[in-house]
């Protein structure tokens, strides 16, 4: 998974990435339909969440299915600081990330001594405990009602005033965050951290015996992951302008995060991007098939819209089917499928290696 692409290949990827970002920037400036901007925002958010999860799940091999805990903490902190104390979200979100990191240290110390499926179960339990607590302690969290935000304050930056009205400003913020997460993962992969994380994933005992402090590095991975996840949570709070205990939900938040990465290809940088590109459009179309009408792709009385309408609430059904299909048939995700078919064609092209020397 730490593929050592030749210098040339890495350069190609960087150029492709820059071109994509440039395109997305222009696209964001030019496009008019809010629905399309919304899709873009959801896509970037999914990429951010996927890259964040990848650090602990993909690289370090610790499948947290309770990442909603960090998302929710980021969301609640940001919105509560704004609504109760008037602290602007670009400051509040840092506190949200800080809270998430602290939470991750607590959760890590509790759960990291557990291996494999037990860790998964513990991570789910923690998120559920937090969700139930958020529901119950109404004085603090306003319970099921949650926090409803009127408007995001405007930002005074370098003499300009940025109003967070409409979807366009959020599009660019989301794009920036997604790019930041990709760069962060890229840096981690090429560092000692990246090597150690993957060693832990591959064989914890071996890693331990080679001088790797398992607890410390797992905690670092989780902290990085939690911080970026909370970043997404804070952003989401400002975009949707509503936070309720569902921010901690297993099927609404934690599972789609894991899905995004698994569909794309776990433990790779491109994985969450590919996964998001598959999951988000399908998800949004299911949730709101009329959106396709808005964009002019379908006519209002199209059979597709009528077919999909009753499924609007069953996007979880869709997640379930997707999880099952991917794990049964493509556990390494889309990228895994591409990689193995490339390897097959490569093998056919190369001459067969010489047979190993016969034993003496």
């Amino acid at each position: 998974m730490i593929a050592r692409p030749h210098r040339g290949v890495a350069l190609v990827w960087i150029l492709v990435g820059l071109a994509a970002v440039a395109f997305l920037v222009v696209f964001g400036l030019v496009v008019k339909k809010p629905y399309v901007l919304h899709m873009g925002i959801m896509l970037f958010q999914a990429i951010l969440l996927g890259q964040a999860w990848n650090v602990i799940g993909g690289y370090t091999g610790q499948y947290s299915v309770g990442h909603a805990a960090y998302f929710g903490v980021g969301a609640y902190t940001t919105i509560m600081l704004l609504m109760t104390h008037g602290i602007a979200p670009w400051w509040g979100i840092w506190l949200g990330m800080g809270n998430a990191v602290l939470l991750s240290l607590v959760i890590g110390s509790i759960t990291f001594r557990l291996r494999g499926p037990y860790f998964v179960l513990a991570s789910i339990s923690v998120a559920e405990i937090i969700r139930l607590a958020a529901l119950h302690f109404k004085d603090f969290t306003r319970g099921a009602e949650g926090f409803l935000l009127d408007a995001v304050p405007s930002l005074h930056l370098l003499g300009a005033e940025i109003d967070f009205v409409g979807k366009r400003p959020f599009y660019f913020v989301a794009l920036g965050l997604a790019v930041a997460s990709v760069i962060a993962n890229w840096a981690v992969e090429r560092s000692k951290l990246g090597y150690y994380f993957q060693a832990i994933r591959e064989d914890q005992d071996a890693a331990h015996s080679l001088g790797i402090n398992l607890t410390a590095y797992k905690n670092v991975a989780l902290a990085i992951s939690a911080a970026f996840t909370a970043l997404a949570g804070g952003f989401s709070a400002m975009y949707v302008k509503w936070v309720d205990p569902n921010a901690f939900s297993l099927p609404e938040v934690s599972i789609p995060i894991v899905l995004t990465v698994i569909i794309g290809g776990i433990g790779t940088i491109a994985g969450p991007v590919v996964g998001a590109m598959v999951l988000v459009p399908l998800q949004e179309i299911l949730r709101n098939p009329k959106g396709l009408v808005q964009v002019g792709i379908l006519s209002p009385d199209s059979s597709v819209v009528t077919f999909l309408a009753p499924f609007a609430n069953a996007h979880q059904l869709f997640y379930g089917v997707l999880v099952v299909v991917v794990i049964l048939f493509a556990p390494d995700g889309v990228l895994g499928v591409i990689r193995s078919s490339l390897r097959k064609t490569q093998r056919r092209a190369e001459p067969r290696p010489a047979a190993p020397a016969a034993p003496a």
């Binding site: 000692k192 090597y195 591959e202 080679l210 001088g211």
Partner: protein, 241 residues
């Protein structure tokens, strides 16, 4: 013995009621090769595990370079200069061969470029440099064993513990490992070797410790051990050459 590098003092390890190691004591001096033999279930790997911190001994002390190790975690033990290989090889399967060794090298440096150099050097020592970019998980068993040794060597140890590194190898592969062990000794590395291959143990060991049912049965030079009646009995009459 002047300044022994390793001191095992009355080490016992209990699992429930079972004594996997019972009152084992011996010492190792710098630069020697100690053979650790015994029938299956004698407690050899358990002893390795106790020494390297995989779990602490129930009783007794392990001193490495004069420092008491009891309760120290394996990663700290590695940083002190002791590293082990595993009876059942543990390659980092999805990583390449060189990345595997780099993980070991990173115990001593933070810079990837330095780690890469060290890793290539170790691969040259085990004669696997041509396989640097191969996926570790796809290697045959002989090369996995060599990879594991290279990876351990990359941590720049002073004491190397080899757990049945020749298990599952054909004679020419075993020969290669024996040569490697002797070369490493010449370079000044202290080694403890668990082996079932008696010929190999006799060839390479300066001293041999024999374990049986968790207890130390005998200790001595290869010739002594080969003629030791208790040892012969423990191996059920197998002739020890």
């Amino acid at each position: 013995m002047a300044d022994p590098i390793l001191q095992i003092q009355h080490v016992s390890k209990f699992f429930g009621g079972l004594a996997a190691n019972a009152d084992v004591s011996f010492e190792m001096e710098l630069g020697m090769i100690m053979g650790l033999i015994g029938p299956n279930g004698a407690g050899k790997t358990t002893l390795f595990n106790c020494i390297t911190g995989y779990y602490p001994p129930s009783r007794g002390d392990v001193l490495f370079k004069g420092v008491r190790l009891n309760g120290l975690q394996p990663d700290a033990v590695c940083r002190l200069g002791m590293v082990r290989t595993w009876q059942k090889v543990k390659p980092l399967a999805k990583l390449s061969v060189i990345d595997n060794v780099m993980v070991g090298a990173l115990a001593r440096t933070r810079k990837l470029s330095v780690a890469r150099e060290v890793a290539m050097e170790q691969l040259r020592v085990v004669r696997m440099e041509h396989k640097a970019e191969f996926l570790a998980g796809g290697l045959p068993i002989g090369e996995r064993k060599k990879l594991e040794v290279a990876r351990a060597l990359a941590t720049k140890p002073e004491l190397l513990l080899l757990d049945e590194v020749m298990g599952g190898l054909n004679p020419s592969e075993s020969d290669e490992i024996i040569q490697l062990i002797l070369e490493l000794k010449k370079a000044g590395l202290t080694q403890m070797v668990i082996e079932h291959d008696m010929k190999a143990i006799m060839r390479i060991s300066d001293r041999i410790v024999v374990l049986n049912s968790g207890e130390k049965l005998a200790e001595g030079g290869p010739r002594e051990i080969a003629d030791h009646p208790e040892v012969i009995k423990a191996y059920l009459g197998e002739r020890v050459e």
